[in-house]
């Protein structure tokens, strides 16, 4: 009764991962943690893409190609994100997101 791994398993995994990432973004107070969670969400998308590419369009590699692009861009984004977090730390001596509410109403 061994069940072969089908596409839905991957989809469920990526959805779960996406959910965790989303929870992290909404709940965590630390800026870096939020940044990591966004990366988590992006990786969830990668899983999704690669799985679809294997099961739905095995001949073409569009999904995997897309995943590579996502990874590269995610890297760029993290680079810039960390730079900003350092800048804001140097400025406000805190990374707690709740402190950054000067711009409101």
């Amino acid at each position: 009764m061994v069940t072969t791994i089908s596409l839905t398993h991957y989809m469920v995994l990526s959805a779960l991962l996406f959910g965790i990432g989303l929870f992290g973004v909404l709940a965590k107070r630390n800026a870096i943690a939020v940044l990591i969670c966004i990366e988590l969400m992006l990786n969830a998308v990668n899983i999704n893409l690669v799985a679809i590419s294997k099961y739905i369009t095995p001949t073409l590699f569009t999904g995997q190609l897309f995943a590579i692009f996502v990874i590269t861009v995610a890297a760029a984004e993290v680079g810039v994100g960390l730079a900003i977090i350092i800048a804001i730390y140097r400025n406000r001596v805190s990374v707690n997101l709740d402190d950054f509410d000067w711009l409101k109403w």
Binding site: L7, M11, F18, G21, V25, A31, V34, L35, I38, M41, L42, A44, V45, N48, L49, I52, I56, T57, T62, G63, L65, F66, F69, V70, V73, A76, E77, V80, G81, I84, I85, A87, I88, N91, R92, L97, F100, W102, L103, K104
Partner: protein, 474 residues
């Protein structure tokens, strides 16, 4: 497979210009960095000329991955004019910030991102162009590292933009999953009128991702803070360029990729646009900071442009393109005045604009004309734009037309409150503000453009007609 590079000419030129400015910044001694502004401006003018000359040669690259039709070219012209006007109008602002080379190169890369986005034929190019533009803007938003407001805007922008692009990607992957292809035209054929739940979730996420970019209401929360925090030239480019590019791709995705689901998302688009117009105008009423006011007004403008998407017909697309083009001049005019006023007085509060009409009649006039064009008062371009937009939906979405026009008249209220301060009050210190050459030139260009397009929109509407027609050709 011979790749006709002439189609890519504008993008290539833009890349070279961007890198060139970056390198030049390193070579040129710190003192004479001012020249970089002129280099960028003239470079942009050149690329603009190149794009206009390539108006007639249309075609595809890499089997539909990169579409260069007159629709894309028109949007590229919009982005390049916006970039040119922003650099020209805010040279003094940028000089005061220092390290111009990074600033100008980022502006150029952002424009490049927009151009790629406008010509994206499939989801990968879409994502690439979108991310190139967003990351360039993130750097620009927190350009004044020392000032906390700019950095706070930066952190907000990067986190929220990252999250929204994650959601967008998830949506794209789902659509890819359901239709099995990434190229927009193929997706268009694959999507049937009977949607699968996964497709609905995918489309919803697509709407959210792009909605974030054009700051439609449920996804607009970031706009006021980022617009207020960011340096004014960046805000104006963000308000114009990023919004126009997002609309370009939004139209492509929804009208070309998902026509099958038209019946479903047309009511969604109508509701989104109505809510955006209402919230954008209402929250702008109590504002006291000019940039925040213009932020909410640009949210409202996004609502008006969304009206063009509702019918997804050629007239709708024409309305969007027409309004996007004249929206460039109105917004940049207003923001350039705000930027220059910030340089002179160092404040963005509306009450400090007292007696501006006596200190500098041109600035006051441009501010009033730009604002009233956004409100849609006749002799100005906004009226014609709104006429084209609401023309498409009057038949079966009359309520949306009513809401749109009544709200645009409500918007006259907070625009005139600014005019009231500028014209009636006496200035605190009435030293006349002398305008430097390039700023005056930008202001005059925007004013004349808004007036001419308002009184004699004939030629522009011809050009936009052909462009909208080409959208459906391929």
């Amino acid at each position: 497979m011979n790749v006709d590079l002439s189609l890519l000419a504008p993008e290539i030129a833009m890349a070279i210009l961007g890198l060139g400015v970056l390198i030049l910044g390193l070579l040129v001694p710190k003192g004479s960095r001012h020249g970089l502004g002129w280099v960028t401006a003239l470079g942009l003018l050149g690329v603009l000329g190149l794009t206009i000359s390539g108006w007639n040669n249309q075609g595809f690259l890499y089997e539909g991955l990169f579409v260069v039709d007159q629709y894309a070219i028109f949007f590229k012209i919009t982005f390049l004019t916006a970039a040119f006007l922003v650099t020209l109008g805010c040279m003094r602002y940028v000089d005061e910030m220092g390290d111009q080379s990074e600033y100008y190169s980022m502006i150029l890369f952002a424009t490049l991102g927009m151009m790629v986005l406008a010509s994206a034929g499939d989801f990968m190019t879409l994502y690439l162009g979108l991310e190139l533009m967003t990351i360039a803007f993130i750097v620009l938003v927190c350009f004044r590292r020392t000032e906390t407001r700019s950095v706070e805007a930066g952190i907000k922008y990067i986190l929220l933009a990252g999250m929204s692009s994650a959601v967008l990607l998830y949506g794209l992957s789902l659509v890819y999953g359901v239709t099995g292809s990434v190229v927009i035209s193929e997706v268009g054929q694959a999507v049937t009128t009977e949607p699968v739940p996964a497709l609905i979730l995918g489309v919803a996420m697509l709407v959210a991702g792009l909605g974030f970019k054009i700051s439609a209401v449920p996804f607009h929360m970031w706009t006021p803070d980022v617009y207020e925090g960011a340096p004014t030239p960046v805000t104006s480019f963000l308000a114009v360029g990023s919004k126009a590019a997002s609309f370009a791709i939004l139209l492509r995705v929804f009208v070309a990729a998902l026509p099958g689901l038209w019946a479903h998302w047309t009511m969604l688009a109508a509701i989104l646009s109505a809510v955006t117009i209402i919230v954008g105008n209402l929250v702008a009423i109590p504002q006291t900071n000019i940039k925040r006011l213009l932020a909410y007004s640009s949210i409202a403008q996004a609502g008006y442009i969304l009206v063009g998407l509702v019918t997804a017909s050629e007239a709708g697309i024409k309305g969007v393109m027409f309004y996007a083009f004249l929206y460039v001049f109105a917004t940049i005019g207003a923001f350039t005045v705000a930027a220059y006023f910030y340089n002179v007085t160092g404040s963005d509060e509306i009450k400090d604009y007292a007696g501006l009409s006596q200190r500098s009649p041109l600035m006051a006039a441009v501010m009033v004309i730009s604002m009233l064009s956004m409100a849609g008062i006749p002799p100005l371009a906004g009226f014609v734009g709104k006429f084209y937009l609401f023309k498409t939906i009057v038949d079966n979405y009359l309520w949306l037309a009513l809401i749109g026009l009544i709200m645009s008249m409500v918007s006259v209220y907070y625009y005139l409150r600014v005019a009231l301060v500028m014209y009636r009050d006496e200035p605190v210190d009435n030293t006349p503000i002398s305008l430097s050459g390039p700023v005056a030139l930008t202001l005059i260009i925007t004013m004349v453009a808004t007036l001419v397009l308002g009184i004699y929109p004939g030629p522009l509407s011809e050009v936009v007609n052909t462009a909208a027609h080409s959208f459906f050709l391929h």
